[in-house]
Symmetry: C2
């Protein structure tokens, strides 16, 4: 059953927390930043969240106008959750949260999620605009993203690209390491930690956006 408790405080900060302050709520929003996701995608992306928790949060976020549930037309015939405009306005907040949190040491028992690394990738590209227009296919674990560079911006969407110039398949930890040290790419490929298709030189350039 969805949570209804409130701080009963007219302060805008408290009002915001009434909507997105419950446990897992902002992490659900984080997962939806790169596009619509199915229930099972969210569940796999947030392994610590139980399914009934996810149901509750999605219902609450939907009731609060942050998330929208959409039933895809046939033949897909499945439903997805996506951010509303109001939900997308949370992005500066998530950036501020991430900036503050990145100063905290990383605990050994924590794992790196795909979305987290992609947020880092996109954030890094903002500062650094040097890449030509290109589209890549990026696969982390069993999830796939489209990464496209255009005029220094880097756009990431949670969908399979139509005609990628190159493809990279790895796991979040390895990608994170490669963003911090792009020179490790050949070693990672040799070790089987990274699988690529298409032009290696394009992928090399992509990985350098963070350095």
């Amino acid at each position: 059953m969805p949570t209804t408790r409130s701080y009963r405080d007219a302060c805008p900060i408290a009002r915001a927390l009434d909507l997105i302050g419950e446990r897992w709520a902002l992490l659900v929003v984080r997962e939806l930043l790169f596009g619509a996701q199915r229930f099972s995608d969210l569940s796999r992306a947030l392994p610590g969240a139980s399914t009934n928790m996810l149901t509750d949060r999605l219902r609450e976020l939907e009731a609060h106008g942050v998330v929208r549930r959409r039933v895809l037309p046939p033949p897909a015939a499945c439903s997805v959750y996506e951010l509303t405009d109001r939900g997308r306005e949370l992005e500066p907040l998530l950036n501020a949260l991430g900036e503050w949190g990145s100063a905290e040491p990383r605990s050994a028992s924590s794992s790196l999620t795909a979305t987290s690394v992609l947020l880092f990738l996109r954030g890094s590209a903002r500062a650094h605009h040097s890449s030509p227009t290109d589209t890549y296919r990026l696969q982390l674990g069993d999830r796939v993203w489209t990464v496209s560079t255009e005029s220094g911006q880097l756009e990431i969407k949670a969908e399979d690209p139509a005609a990628p110039a190159a493809s990279l398949r790895t796991d979040p930890e390895t990608l994170n390491a490669l963003l911090l040290d792009p020179d490790g790419l050949d070693t990672a490929i040799a070790a089987g930690a990274v699988h690529i298709e298409g032009r290696l030189s394009s992928l090399r350039r992509l990985l350098r956006v963070a350095t």
Copy 2:
């Protein structure tokens, strides 16, 4: 007993939420933005939070380096809680949260807290720099602040001023209304909702920073 649960996610957003994502944590930080507060001050400022909850949150925030407990030297002989440097770095986050939350309609059953109105006052002054250097005493309910204007900035501290140019005593709701409509000051004084001392013209100027 303080909370120890964690998202176990290396994402900076999740790491931040591990530290300041528990219920009431960010509202405690909000209350400390204008200076050190005693336990009982915090308790009165956050009427919805039970005392054991407050104890837990303060212990956690202290353990995480966000808040510091300091024992005042005699003759005060009491302890106060204040933000550390790390805690003060949460201010942009709270601003982002407040900005997002202010788009949400205010529920009828919510009350306006003093700190909330003061954040609005200070935030309004940022945009609008037109005030001369002055120090005011502001009393809302039974709590007292020092408000000082200098070169377009407005500084607010949770302490009694030494030599205020003027004093204003009212409640959060009335102050909020006056910031939205400074022309209501005379009516509010006549109605006994506002008590002033010192130069009325200075106070009039102070109230106009938000318009």
